[in-house]
Amino acid sequence: MRYVIIGNSYAAVGAVESIREVDRRGDIIIISDEPYRAYGRPLITYWIGGTVREDQMDYRPQHWYESNRVETMLGRKVARVEPGERQVVLEVGERVSYDRLLIATGGTPIIPPIEGVDAEGLFTMTRFDDAKAFKTWVDQDHVKAGVSIGAGLIGLSVFKAMKGIDVRLTLVELLDRVLGLAMDYESSAMIEEELARAGVEVRTSTAAEAILKDDEGRVRAVRLKGGEELACQTVVMAVGVRPNVDFLEGSGVAINRGVIVDEGMRTSIADVFAAGDVVESKNVLSGENQVIAILPIAYEHGRVAGWNIAGQDRVYPGGIPLNSLPIFELSLMTMGITLTDDRPGLDVLVHTGERVYRKLVFDGGRLVGAILVGDVAHGGVLTWLIRSQLPVMCDRQLLLKGDPLELEASRQLIAAGENSDWSREATPELPVR
């Protein structure tokens, strides 16, 4: 059996670790256009800030590829897939044949079609090479100020990076608050306060209209809607990512926004599987398929795809949106459904304290979402109550306060824990370890 995996990140690693539980003999070939061993992708901004060294970026131990007998073709990009021939075609023209194929190509940054996006000094921030190019640029001492277009997860991560390298930063956000897709007004306000304290300027409810260049084609300013210009020497484009599916055109693999897969991560084409940020999969809260681009889901997809690609029949039970982003001492988490304004019928419980905000969202007897700022204690318990959709039996105030969880709550913990093992739950007949 010859397994070919396109992509070399969380989903790919999960798949390899599953395949090798089932099949020790088959060949595994990983193809990726990035020239690195799998690394912690979110760490790229930590690396810029100097808190993580390059040799600490590896996601798995050095011997991982060898121990799992994985061949790698790194620094090579797949141009297209030809399921009829059971081959993938690399950009350089080389062909690689497969028996079973896994598409784990993740996401690619969205670059809005505004004037000047080709300016020198403008970067996206999803790959290690992006971070390296950015750092090289910023290390030249002409960079005094930077603008991040987009104040979502990646935009805020960039801020953290820039913190370490002494560049004045402005976040420009189309929505009326930072992390607006997951945070409500109260919690965003706390984050904005924390950012202000760190000297970061936040400009919400405005759009970047153009990137202005100097005579040599380098970033000189960002022009906002209304004409105001923010002088800067670098711009990070962080308005979002979309599934990396362009190379699948003409392959016959069905695509909506992301690759469409069944519960076992199979695409519409036989022997072609997909996992990670590139696919749409079940959100347990809506029951609908959507792209939830976070790494735990990518890894879990990979696990399920890996087992199935190697001949088992397991089911991915679905996931929920999650965010965790510490901003200095202020930690924040969001899980599940957090914005309730246009969703009547949900009950909201809020607990506030000195730099603390905890909000729980209930739908009848079930917890469906939470926002935690400042005090993230037992966030995992909430996550599992949301994901498992078990009825909440304990005193809701105990969950809200988070700490101390008394005996009643711990009983609930145990009930939640019994359902925590998603892989075992999905396929009770298969031993996991």
Binding site: L325, P326, G380, S420
Partner: protein, 180 residues
Amino acid sequence: MTSVPLHVSGMLNEMSAQYTRDIIVDAAKCTACMDCVEACKQAVAHEHKTTEPTARISIRKATAEGGINLPQLCKNCAEAPCVVACMTGCRIRDVSGWVTTDYERCVGCWMCVMTCPFGVIGAVHEDKMARKCDGCTSHEVPPCVAVCKPQALRVRSYGSFAQERRQAYSRRARVTALPG
């Protein structure tokens, strides 16, 4: 493209992982004497760079209304959510079979704190470490177990597994040797 020979260690690890350490909690026996908590604090002190060490085992005490004392520590989940959610890969099941943490590489993203269904991972902000019980796998017997007089905490390891099996054998041998 060259293929590299299959590493035997992978196979061995998987086999041994099934039999190595597990800390079994027998809550009914717990007297909440807190010896385990103290022992834990000392054992993990060296991993705290700037902060006061905190124990990675806690005891939810029985209340006036009743209940039992419940020691809480890492359950060493099979498909461990904290491993799944770890962005750096510093949290991984090691050869002992226990899910352990390389704190040198932990950046404090709290993804694992957000996904641990038992709430037994704590965020140590100053040290940027998501601390949890790592099983003290370098000790023959974990310090918390060693000090637990009522034996509310016990270990199952490859060794004790074999021993228990021998004892079971001998018991059975005695039974079957009995006349009638």
